[in-house]
Amino acid sequence: MNAHQAVTQGEPVVVDRAGKPKLPGTDVMVRFAGVTKTYPHRRGKPGVEALCDVDLEIGRGAITGIIGRSGAGKSSLVRLINGLEKPSGGRVVVDGREISRLTGADLRLAQRSIGMIFQHFNLLSSRTAAQNIALPLEIAGWSRTDIARRVGQLLALVDIADKRDRYPSELSGGQKQRVGIARALATRPDVLLSDEATSALDPQTTRSILDLLSTINRELGVTIVLITHEMSVVRQLARDVVVIDAGRIVERGEVADIFTAPKHPTTQAFLGEVLGEAVPLSLANRLQPAPVAGGQAVLRVAVRGAVAADTVVARLSRALDADVALLAARIDEIGGRHVGSLIVGVPAARAEQALAQLAQSRIEGEHLGYVA
C-alpha cells in the first residue's frame, strides 16, 4: 500500500490553503503555555512582570482580539508570538513550532510565516510603496521577477495600485497602513499580528482598514491577532476576545458571550465605553431618592443578548397595565446580539412590581430613583 492510498483510505484529510495536511488537533494556531515575561530591572528601575502565567489558545483562521489597558502587556504578548522577545518562562507555540525556543536562522525562517502591522506603520521613508512591500521578499531572497509579480498582486489586494511609486510622505495614514498590510502579507504568512494598527487613524479610515482585514481573513484564511485598547475594534471584527489586565488574562471567549455577560470589572469598563452611560445628564440631574406625587420611578433595564430590546417596553407595560415611558436607550449589536440598556419610567408606586416582573423574565433591572 503506497502513501497515497494510505491517505485516501483513512479519515478524510483536511488540507489547509498552503496544501499542508492539517493534523488532528491543529485547529490551534498559537498556544501559550504558562508564559511569563519579566523585563529585567534597569538603572534603578525595578524589573517589570509584563505577563504572568499566561495560558492561551488562538484559533486557526479566526480573528482574535486582545484587549487591555495601556501597559497591560498586549505588545509584550504579540512580540512573543513572532519571537521578537523570548519568554522568561513557559512556551509559545505557533503553528506547531515552539517559536520561543528557536534561534538564529530557524527563528528567521519561522518569522517569515508571521506578518505584523504597526500603529505607526513603520514604513521606510526611503522606499516607495512598492519597494516597501518588496522588503520582506528581498529579505527572504526572492528573485526580482517573483518579487515584481508578487508586489503587483499585493498592491491590488490592498487597493493602492495607483500609489505604487509614491513615497510614504506622500500617502495618507490609511494608505500607509494598506502598504503596511501588503508588506506584512508579502511572504504569505499564516498569521497576521496587528498591534494597534488603527489607533492612529480616524473612525472612517479605521472602518475601511478593519474591512480590509476582515476580507483578508475570509479570503486568504489568515489567522489574525488584533491588539487594541478599543472595544469597538474588537466588536467590529473579532470572533474571539481575550481581555488582559496587569499581565494576566482575566476573561476570554467568543466576543458575543463575553460582551453580553462581562464578568471582570475591566471587561465591564470596556463595555461601558462602547455603550456609554445611557442615563442622559439632564435626567440624572433630576433624579431624586424619594417618590414624588404623580411622578415616575426610573429603572434601568439591561439588554443582554437574549432579551429582545424591541419588545421589552411593551411587555412591561402590558404586565403592569400602565404606561411605560422610554426615557433613554443605548443599544448596540455585538456578535449579532443586542447589548445595552433602556432607561424607562413607570408610575412611582409600581416600581417594586416592575422590578419583580423583570426578574421573573430574567431581565436585569435597577431602580435608579424618582422624577417628578
Partner: protein
C-alpha cells in the same frame, strides 16, 4: 599678481584637493563601518558587543581629543611606516586619515542613531539578519544624514589640511603661512583665503543639495 604666484596657488589647490579627497575617502572607508558598529553594538542592540563598543568608543574619543597638530607629529613613525616617508602631500594623507576616521565614525553613528528603532524591529520581525537590517534599513534611511556628515567631514579636513604644512605636506594652508605670513605677502594670504572659502562653499553647497534631493521624498511625514 604674477604668473608664478598664480601657478603656486593652482599647484597648492591641487595638493589640498588631493590630500583632502583621498583622506576623506579613506576616512569614510574606515570610519563608516566603525560608526555603524558604534551605533549598533551597545547592550541589546543589533550587534550587541558592549565591551568592544566601550574600547572602540574610548579610542575614538582619545583620537578626537588630541589636537591635530600634535597628532601629526606624534604619529610620524607610523606615517613613515605606511607612506615610506613622513614628508610631502602623500605622507600627509596618513595623519589626515587618522584624524578623519574617528570624526567620521562619530558623525555616522549619530546619523544612524537618528533612525527610528521601530524600523529595525519591523525588519527583524520579517526575519531579517542584522546585516540585512544595516544594508536595507539603516544605511538607506540615514542617507541624507550621512551625506551631510560627510560634507562636514570634508570641510573640516580642508581646515586640517592647512596644518600639514608643518610636515611638508604642502597645500593651501602651507602656501598661506610661507608666503602670506613669513614673507609678508598679504595678497597671497588673501588669495589663499579666497580659494579656501570658495572650496568650502562649493563642498557645502554640493552636500546640501545632494542631501536635500535625497531628503525631498523622505522624512517630512
Amino acid at each position: 599678481m604674477s604668473r608664478d604666484l598664480i601657478n603656486l596657488i593652482v599647484e597648492a589647490t591641487w595638493q589640498s584637493l588631493y590630500m583632502v579627497s583621498l583622506s576623506a575617502l579613506l576616512g569614510t572607508f574606515l570610519g563608516a563601518p566603525l560608526g555603524i558598529f558604534l551605533a549598533t553594538s551597545r547592550k541589546g542592540e543589533l550587534f550587541a558587543a558592549p565591551f568592544a563598543n566601550l574600547i572602540l568608543g574610548t579610542i575614538v574619543n582619545a583620537t578626537r581629543s588630541t589636537p591635530f597638530i600634535i597628532l601629526v607629529v606624534a604619529i610620524i613613525p607610523f606615517t613613515r611606516l605606511v607612506a615610506g616617508t613622513s614628508i610631502g602631500s602623500s605622507a600627509a594623507i596618513v595623519p589626515l586619515t587618522v584624524a578623519a576616521t574617528p570624526f567620521i565614525a562619530r558623525l555616522v553613528e549619530a546619523a544612524i542613531r537618528e533612525i527610528d528603532g521601530g524600523l529595525v524591529e519591523t525588519a527583524a520581525s520579517f526575519g531579517a539578519t542584522p546585516l540585512q537590517i544595516v544594508i536595507k534599513v539603516l544605511i538607506p534611511e540615514a542617507l541624507p544624514g550621512l551625506v551631510l556628515a560627510l560634507t562636514l567631514a570634508v570641510v573640516s579636513l580642508l581646515g586640517y589640511s592647512a596644518m600639514v604644512g608643518a610636515v611638508g605636506g604642502g597645500g593651501l594652508g602651507d602656501l598661506g603661512i610661507r608666503y602670506g605670513y613669513q614673507r609678508f605677502m598679504p595678497e597671497m594670504m588673501l588669495a589663499v583665503v579666497v580659494v579656501l572659502i570658495a572650496l568650502v562653499q562649493a563642498v557645502q553647497t554640493l552636500g546640501d543639495h545632494l542631501a536635500r534631493r535625497l531628503n525631498r521624498r523622505l522624512r517630512h511625514r
